[in-house]
């Protein structure tokens, strides 16, 4: 506007010139002020790194983004996401879920937290911390600075571990990268070899072990790392690396012959030894939870295994993630309680352990091939007064892990049966279907219920009975125990049903407990023994580790070291760590998941009530849905997101994608 006035009024030209001179003068005075100051509205390094509170805020972010598969993880929807349907145990085959019908890889396209850029964000935060804190070291004691730097190494090592177990070799970044300080070409860092990536993890966790104190001075409740936390995870990571070196057969080389997928098998023993040594560091520092345990007392051993997951002061907890309503919450119970205890959100029974899983445990009648025995010598069903009678002598750990049909939870008997058999019972009941059949049950002589709204059936004695148990199994509605079992582990027995809500629960997630360290040690030791290594009595070590676990679990003890095979250790691990989001990764690193899920239909155990006998029988069969699980071997190395390759053309895609 002003300009147009100038053009219009020539008569005022002189006056205007005066004004312009004055205004320009004022501007040039103002220009002498130094405007190059840190912006006042952005938190500066000095604000964060000079005070304990600032460091704590930084740590809170690092730990909250630590990529661990906790109560807020599924392969389908990723890390730190509340919706727990399609649970991991239903992908690994330990359970069936109505929302999971097939094997799968992690579905990164559906994740709200991008696995690649998310992890590299955490790594950058660690690198920034490690580079910046020393500049402000004078504000703190040397021990404190070392502790915090150690924690940053711990988080960085864990984050590389999260990348390596998914992708193999990844670009290694250990300094803060700057743009535009560095050119785009300099920032296009190629993938390192898989071996170099695992060595980076080892180096970070070694640094953490070296720098961290025995007790974390800021938080000693297991939510933050100490020396032994770092060592425990090193045992997990090195066991992973050793397994890849020994069992992997998929390789990928870049143009410079770096092996970005696969590790030379000659490196296996060094990794197993590192896992063994790291696990041994925890000897005497942590112990198995035995507070309520009593010898020869299955009930006490059951209660002890239940308590283990809810005692915040348990000596077994090494590293945990805490939740707090309403700031950080999950909904484990809401999704997983048995059908008859469903909370107000209406979810229930998302995790239903398979019979294949239950068959692994001791104390149940078995056929010679190790499967559960449901038929007598004449090929007729064995009858039981109550459904729990079949499991009368079951290993206490099984009861603490799985809700068996008819067991008690929250003061209620959990009713699980598939239907009422109304046919003749004289002379024994023959199997409803031929062995191995994948057909539906014949409807003759069978009363069933499609949903939880049941029409009671009149039994021969005139009393009424629902065709299916209150927790299933319903033929038209999968919100029930579709496998004949419901999950028990992690469920809070004291949570009132009205509080069984999504985004409302706060049980602590135990990411690392001493039992896993013992299992890591046993497996590493046994692999070293198999490879003929003689640094220690590895076989005896593995034997003692496994028997400690079995004793606590109430399982049958191993009689001699010589009776062990690699499967002894693997099955023990699967039983102990089931439903803790570990098994799938184990099956992957052993490279047996493609054999286990090879056109596989998982098995279920269906209890029936024989009306004329007044007793129950069990039918072991394939999943009635005929859902087929086939793990594609290329999934051992996950697909690198296309967006990553678009940004960095030096990143080579994994084989087969």
């Amino acid at each position: 506007m002003l300009n147009f006035n100038f053009l219009q009024s020539n008569s005022m030209k002189n006056n205007n010139l005066k004004y312009i001179t004055v205004i320009l003068g004022i501007f040039s005075l103002a220009a002498c002020r130094n405007l190059d100051i840190p912006p006042k509205n952005i938190v500066q390094d000095a604000d964060v790194f000079s005070t304990t509170a600032g460091i704590q805020a930084y740590m809170a972010r690092l730990y909250s983004e630590l990529p661990i598969e906790d109560f807020r993880y599924t392969p389908e929807r990723g890390l730190n996401f509340f919706w727990l349907i399609s649970p991991m145990s239903a992908v690994s085959g330990d359970a069936l879920s109505r929302d999971q019908t097939h094997a799968q890889q992690e579905n990164f396209g559906n994740w709200s937290w991008s696995v690649w850029s998310g992890c590299y964000g955490v790594i950058r935060d660690c690198n920034y911390f490690i580079e910046t804190l020393p500049k402000y070291a004078k504000n703190f004691t040397t021990a404190t600075v070392n502790d915090w730097i150690g924690e940053a190494y711990f988080v960085r090592g864990m984050t590389y571990f999260a990348l390596a177990k998914r992708f193999g070799g990844v670009p290694i970044v250990t300094t803060v990268l700057n743009y535009p300080g560095e050119t785009i070409d300099q920032l296009k860092i190629p993938r390192a070899s898989e071996k170099a990536t695992w060595d980076q993890i080892k180096s970070d966790l070694d640094s953490a072990t070296l720098l961290l104190p025995v007790v974390n001075p800021d938080d000693n409740d297991g939510t933050r790392a100490n020396k032994y936390v770092a060592a425990a995870f090193e045992s997990r990571a090195m066991l992973y690396a050793g397994s890849i070196a020994k069992y992997n057969s998929i390789t990928l080389f870049d143009a410079k012959n770096n092996e970005i997928c696969g590790i030379p098998s000659t490196d296996a023993n060094a990794y197993f030894l590192a896992a063994y040594n790291a696990a041994k560091m925890l000897d005497g520092k942590y112990s198995l939870y035995m507070k309520a345990w009593a010898a020869n007392n299955p009930d006490a051993q059951y209660q002890n295994f239940v308590d283990l997951f809810s005692d915040p002061g348990g000596p077994e907890n090494i590293f945990v993630r805490e939740y707090q309503y309403p700031n950080s919450v999950h909904g484990y119970d809401a999704y997983n309680v048995p059908r008859q205890l469903a909370g107000p959100n209406g979810y229930s029974a998302e995790v239903n352990p398979t019979l294949n899983f239950v068959d692994m445990f001791d104390g149940i009648p078995k056929n010679p091939d190790g499967t559960i025995k449901t038929l007598d010598a004449n090929g007729h069903y064995i009858l039981y007064k109550n459904t729990m009678d079949l499991f009368a002598n079951a290993e206490p750990r099984l009861r603490a892990t799985v809700i068996l049909p008819g067991d008690v939870f929250k003061g209620q008997q959990i009713q699980i049966w598939r239907g009422i058999y109304t046919g003749p019972v004289a002379g024994g009941i023959s199997p409803l279907l031929p062995p191995g059949s994948k057909e539906q049950y014949p409807t003759a002589n069978l009363v069933e219920s499609a949903t939880a709204n049941q029409t009671p059936y009149t039994l021969p004695d005139g009393s009424l009975m629902n065709p299916a148990g209150a927790s299933g199994i319903f033929t038209g509605d999968q919100t029930c125990a579709i496998s004949g079992f419901s999950v028990r582990k992690w469920l809070d027995p004291n949570l009132p049903t009205s509080q069984v809500l999504e985004n409302h629960e706060s049980q602590t997630w135990i990411e690392m407990r001493y039992a896993e360290v013992l299992l890591n040690r046993a497996e590493a030791a046994f692999e070293l023994y198999l490879a003929g290594q003689t640094g220690a009595d590895y076989l005896d070590d593995a034997f003692n580790d496994i028997n400690q676990i079995r004793l606590r679990a109430g399982a049958v003890l191993l009689t001699s070291p010589g009776s062990m095979t690699v499967d002894t250790i693997r099955i023990e691990r699967r039983k102990e760590l089931a439903f803790e989001n570990k098994t799938w990764w184990d099956l992957r690193r052993w490279r047996i998941l493609d054999k286990e899920q090879n056109g596989t239909i998982y098995k279920v155990l269906m209890p029936f009530y024989a009306a004329k006998a007044g007793e129950y029988f069990f039918d072991a069969r394939y999943d009635e849905r005929n859902d087929v699980y086939t793990f594609d071997p290329r999934w051992y190395y996950e697909q690198i997101p296309q967006s990553v390759i678009s940004k960095n053309s030096n990143v080579i895609q994994n084989p087969g994608y």
Binding site: S249, I250, S437, K438, N598, Q653, G656
Partner: protein, 252 residues
């Protein structure tokens, strides 16, 4: 008045300037065709495969503009032929990947031993055929037979397709796939009737060269169109399946 017309002039200039920013992407779409077949080097018949990500695929490296291009892929048809008519005319390195001795062989340190990939200048249409050695060669021995109990029995013979010991892993699976569509294979079959068999260690190798008889499982087949096919694989990197051709049988 003068002021107002100046505004109009400015406005017009701005609008014209904005319009001139619009560009029409008039680069023609991809319209060249790459086609060909993957043949068994010994028998000259095509190497059967499955639909989708588990089957044979064609790998293209567009070397016109970069020595280190990001690879592009497209899948083969079930019968081992491939055809893509939406490819940009350019210079390509073409190879195929699947259940056969790799076109580009490397040793266990990544060193390239043999490279049989093909460099082509694609303009309009190019036909590129590959002769490969399948891991396993699966042949029908006679036609599938409909049994009195409405099951079906097939006979096949499996032999190794290569003399190269590096690609003679143990036979791990021999599966009869049953499907109600011709898109039959490990990724699409009816689990009720298909008969899957896994073999541990070297136990599967003894079946090589023999006539293998497999019968459908799960009782009588339903009265509808049914397609049969046998897939087998060896322990090798990605454990892809070799197949025989799909056969159908009339329900009597």
């Amino acid at each position: 008045m003068k002021k107002q017309s100046l505004y109009y002039i400015f406005l017009c200039i701005i609008i014209l300037a904005d319009i001139s920013c619009t560009k029409i992407d008039n680069y023609p779409g991809p319209s060249s065709t790459l086609q060909g077949k993957v043949f068994d080097a010994l028998t000259d018949s095509t190497v059967q495969t499955e639909y989708g990500g588990g089957g044979t695929r064609v790998k293209l490296l567009e070397t016109s503009y970069s020595s280190n291009p990001t690879p592009e892929y497209f899948q083969c048809m079930q019968n081992g032929a491939f055809h893509d008519d939406k490819i940009f005319a350019a210079t390509y390195n073409v190879s195929v990947e699947g259940a056969f001795v790799p076109v580009i062989q490397t040793d266990d340190t990544g060193k390239v031993l043999i490279d049989s990939s093909k460099n082509i200048v694609l303009k309009n249409t190019a036909t590129v055929n590959f002769w490969v050695q399948p891991f396993l060669r699966i042949e029908w021995v006679g036609q599938p037979v409909f049994n009195p109990d409405s099951t079906v029995t097939v006979k096949i013979r499996i032999t190794r397709g290569t003399d190269n010991p590096a690609y003679q892993g143990n036979v791990t699976d021999i599966n009869l796939y049953v499907s109600n569509t011709a898109n039959d294979g490990n990724n699409n079959y009816d689990p009720r009737y298909s008969n899957l068999h896994s073999y541990g260690g070297t136990s599967g190798n003894s079946l090589l060269g023999q006539v293998i008889t497999i019968t459908t499982t799960g009782g009588a087949l339903p009265p509808q169109d049914i397609y049969f096919r046998v897939g087998a694989r060896i322990a090798s990197g990605l454990k892809r399946y070799n197949y025989n051709a799909v056969e159908s049988i009339q329900y009597p």
